[in-house]
């Protein structure tokens, strides 16, 4: 390993290369995990960097290149008035805009404020909540600007991220199926944890993508990839109740990282109103 003394001044070594697609990574309210996924592609990072110009990626680079960008990856939800404006800018400078992760796609865990009062939330955390410039709701990007593709997950899956990037660059449909986690669960060779262990699992109503991670670890899926294409939460809830889940547990299990994704919102609300429980009685 070589040693080299450097200067403190940052210099830009990357020239703007003609014809190379330009990638930007943006952050809104989030934990950084989804954009970190790009840096976690240890085996692919340098080849990706050779194929695309990583023109804007603050987490990784101190030389933000100017727009427009061919592909913008957007992490995080919109929670402040400034972000409302910034996302408009991002849309304007991006040819394709892809949201990455549950925050950007469904509002994220911070959207739990939707079920409460954000001012109360602020008061819990801060002595002088008046200073907090925040919106009442945490909204997904698609509620604010048109989005070309939404990549699910809390966090997103690395293979799927690479797939989306290559698909957009190749001009094809990303292979990101919207079916249930169960498809991957069975392909992986897991035994169903609901059937074999009686463990409640959201897999049947959750979109695949993680590779059925939780069941592989003897745990029920907790829905971090959000609702699948045709969720039948009502039918699942009946079974989850039969496996011993109480109404508050059911409400909570849908209210985590994709709480305001419509099918999950409905699932939690119908569990809460105990309509299903009544139906079953």
């Amino acid at each position: 390993m070589g040693t080299r003394k450097g200067t403190a001044v940052t210099r830009s070594v990357r020239k703007r290369t003609e014809g190379v697609p330009r990638l930007a990574v943006w952050k809104f309210a989030s934990c950084d995990g989804c954009q970190l996924t790009l840096l976690d592609c240890e085996d692919e990072l340098l080849s990706v960097a050779a194929e695309v110009e990583i023109a804007y990626f603050l987490e990784a680079s101190s030389a933000p290149g100017p727009g427009p960008y061919d592909l913008s990856l957007v992490e995080g939800s919109i929670t402040t008035p400034e972000d409302l404006e910034r996302i408009q800018h991002v849309r304007r400078v991006s040819k394709h805009l892809v949201t990455i992760g549950a925050c950007a796609t469904a509002g994220g865990i911070q959207a739990l404020r939707d079920f409460g009062d954000v001012r109360e939330f602020a008061a819990v955390v801060y002595a002088r909540p008046g200073y907090i410039a925040t919106l009442d709701r945490s909204t997904p990007i698609s509620a604010n600007v048109p989005v070309d593709f939404e990549l699910r997950g809390c966090p997103i899956d690395k293979r799927q991220l690479l797939e989306v990037i290559s698909a957009f660059l190749a001009g094809r449909r990303p292979v990101v199926p919207a079916h249930s986690v169960c498809v991957e669960c069975k392909a992986r060779g897991n035994a169903c944890v609901m059937v074999a262990h009686g463990t409640p699992c959201l897999g049947p109503v959750t979109q695949a993508g993680c590779g059925a991670l939780c069941p592989a670890f003897d745990r029920g899926c907790y829905g971090c990839f959000g609702p699948m294409e045709s969720p039948n939460a009502r039918a699942l809830n009946k079974q989850l109740r039969a496996l011993g889940m109480s109404t508050p547990e059911l409400v909570r299990v849908y209210r985590t990282f994709n709480a305001t994704a419509e099918p999950f919102r409905q699932a939690s609300e119908s569990a809460e109103n105990s309509r299903e429980a009544d139906d079953d009685a």
Binding site: A170, G171, R172, R173
Partner: protein
């Protein structure tokens, strides 16, 4: 399941979103085909889709017309002369032209449905004596989406085939009929009991046209229709194209209406 490499010998834009490619094998001979059959065209890295064969050229190659509606079809439409793509097939059943011998022939197309019917009309023009009266009726959304306008004109003017075109949404220049393709049945001459019909288009168009033909007395067994279903393999293995008991890729895409009618009647089959 391995596509053979085919080179794009020529590329002709037909309409704003439609392109006709002629394809010849990079090496080896091009398998012969029956009109109505399709091939699986592979745009490398993008995907593979079923496309009907709409013609043949010598010494051996296919003419195929593709409308860009999604990722794969768009990628194929964007290919240029000299590019190599993958091709499997031809697959599926074809139009049974021998069954039409000696009969009046009605060719009914909805939109791009004319593509797989083109070789049928070519046969009619090549051997007019083998058939009775021949008519081609075409329905399209707008005048701009009518494909093969030159062919239509030539068939009409040069070969005495009765060609009629109707559109749903006319533009300023349009002087022809407006409305459903079934209305054109009133404008052509055929003897229903001695007629063979070839029908291709969206499910709804097929149903409406076939129903009308049968009502007028055409034998459902002499009404051939070309069905479209999602296909991933083209050889009866992926299961996607099932229509009740049929694998559309193997038992179709061309079937007679007596077979298709009960199946098309069932919702979500």
């Amino acid at each position: 399941m391995t596509p053979a490499p085919y080179r794009i010998r020529s590329r002709r834009p037909d309409r704003a979103d439609t392109v006709t490619l002629t394809l010849e094998p990079v090496d080896g001979a091009c398998p012969s085909f029956v009109p109505g059959q399709f091939t699986m065209l592979y745009a490398p890295g993008v995907g593979e889709i079923p496309i009907s064969i709409s013609g043949w050229f010598r010494p051996g190659g296919y003419v195929q017309t593709i409308r860009a509606v999604g990722a794969v079809s768009r990628a194929l439409c964007h290919k240029r002369r000299g590019d190599v793509i993958g091709l499997r097939g031809p697959y599926g059943t074809g139009w049974d032209l021998s069954a039409a011998a000696g009969l009046d022939v009605v060719v009914a197309a909805g939109g791009l449905g004319l593509a797989p019917l083109r070789p049928v009309v070519r046969e009619l023009t090549a051997h007019p004596s083998l058939y009775g009266r021949a008519s081609v009726i075409v329905g399209a959304r707008t005048p701009a989406t009518v494909i093969y306008p030159q062919d239509l004109a030539r068939w009409h003017d040069g070969h005495g085939i009765d060609v009629q075109v109707t559109v749903d949404h006319p533009d300023q220049a349009w002087t022809g009929p407006v409305g459903l393709v079934t209305h054109l049945l009133d404008r052509i001459v055929f003897e229903p009991r001695r007629t063979f019909a070839f029908v291709c288009g969206p499910d709804a168009m097929i149903k409406a046209t076939a129903v009308e033909l049968v009502r007028r007395g055409v034998d459902p067994r002499r009404t051939a229709v070309l069905l479209e279903r999602n296909m991933k393999c083209g050889i009866g293995r992926c299961g996607h194209c099932q229509l009740g008991p049929l694998f559309v890729c193997l038992d179709g895409p061309v079937v007679t209406y007596d077979v298709a009618a009960p199946l098309l009647a069932v919702r979500e089959l």
